[in-house]
Symmetry: C2
Subunit: 232 residues, 2 copies
DNA sequence: CCAAAAGTGTTACCATTACACCCATGA
DNA sequence: TCATGGGTGTAATGGTAACACTTTTGG
């Protein structure tokens, strides 16, 4: 008898994570936004792709559970991890009431190559997602929206990059995430005005044109506004 | 043995709501931001004030549970209800692991007088909060931050007001929530430019000065951007 | 007529945009 | 020397802020 819940049984609590990374740009291609999914090995939704996650252990913090399942499935450590939303519609999973606290994470491109990828864990392009289990497709879409919104008023783009980076690399992150071209001149000025960039004095050579300056993320100014959720 | 969790017992799921309203401005005083709290009638935290809420029934939607407990404790129907954050630190409640999905709600001033208020349910001024149970003080502070942020890029101020309102009333909402004075001339233009106001053609008489125009919230334009979380 | 708030006009300022142009390097 | 992005200059635009001013009511 599906959609029927045992009134004595409480809702079960799960934690899942939407993980974003940029594909390392092999060749001259534009990098794309990618995310890892795991294949479900049991019912319900057996064989379908789903977000990494699991049941919440009684003695583990929510964010801790998100970070752990992320590490277990992908082998990665996120540079950014934040709670996204809690999904709890009564019928989102058959047979059983499941409430999922969903996090979203950013990992930087260099790490993606090191990431686990086998027949049960695969990275998918943002616009080549397979059919997903439960309501996970809606969750991903919601996370994408949040990523795009937050990129414009926050510094999260840095989480996709390494220690130092050029302005073109930073701009590429914005362009891929926002899905639109940005004026290099204006982008530069906007970033410089934000006060979050530090010129390392070094330059990146090996390009076939003028060597671009390498910047670092200003960790001091990063702490200033603290617009993020508290993590209890 | 406090702070010790039974590994066999799962975390329990609660839903709570931070409810905001503006005090009806009796006399010439400036209205203030108020919220109802309930007195805890059992341990833990017996006697302390806490957010309205309760355990999540297995067959009730998260938002439904928030709306229900809100109605049960205050007798009010919210004009606005949105998920705030899920709090789940391991030690936020003694003896037992509790994860709380917290919502926040706005109700309009006219209704506050109708609201329940007895020895176990009381409205408190934003800056005269009593000592609270659990981490509820931190939750309220977080909700206040969200309210202030969202007021500036959204239309939620209308949720505090009745069907029609003057620009001065709308401005008063902003001033109380944001805790700062706003230029009446510029506020008017900003609101008119937003395209969310409809002049009803009527005017409010009975004041000791020029009668102000009455406006209505444009419900059509309200639906346009849909920046809100999906409610699964 | 006066007080008080409604409502209008004007100017300055600041961030964003579009786009022209020069610079430095590898090939 | 040329192609290619790096990097600078500049003028137009549009929204916000400050504040002077006019209007309309009740008392």
């Amino acid at each position: 008898m599906p959609q029927q819940h045992d009134p004595a049984a409480p809702a079960r609590l799960a934690v899942s994570t939407v993980i974003f990374a940029l594909s390392p740009d092999e060749g001259a291609e534009r990098p794309s936004l990618r995310l890892p999914l795991v294949r479900r090995l049991r019912e319900p939704g057996l064989g379908r792709w789903a977000l990494p996650g699991g049941w919440l252990p009684v003695d583990e913090a929510l964010e801790g559970a998100a970070a752990r399942t992320l590490a277990e499935t992908t082998g990665l450590t996120p540079k950014y991890l934040e709670q996204l939303y809690t999904f709890g519609a009564v019928d989102r999973s058959p047979d059983e009431r499941v409430v999922s606290v969903v996090y979203w994470a950013l990992v930087h491109s260099d790490e993606v190559e090191r990431a686990v990828s086998d027949e049960n864990v695969q990275w998918f392009d943002e616009d080549e997602l397979p059919e997903l289990a439960f309501d996970h497709r809606a969750i991903i879409d919601y996370a994408l929206g949040r990523l795009r919104t937050k990129l414009e008023y926050s510094r999260i783009a840095h989480a996709f990059l390494g220690e130092t980076f050029t302005l073109a690399e930073l701009r590429a992150v914005h362009e891929v995430v926002l899905r639109k071209r940005l004026d290099p001149a204006n982008f530069r000025r906007t970033m410089e005005a934000s006060g979050t960039l530090v010129d390392t004095g070094e330059r990146l050579s090996g390009t076939r044109h003028r060597p671009p300056a390498l910047y670092r993320f200003d960790t001091a100014s990063a702490m200033a506004p603290a617009p993020d959720p508290i993590h209890l």
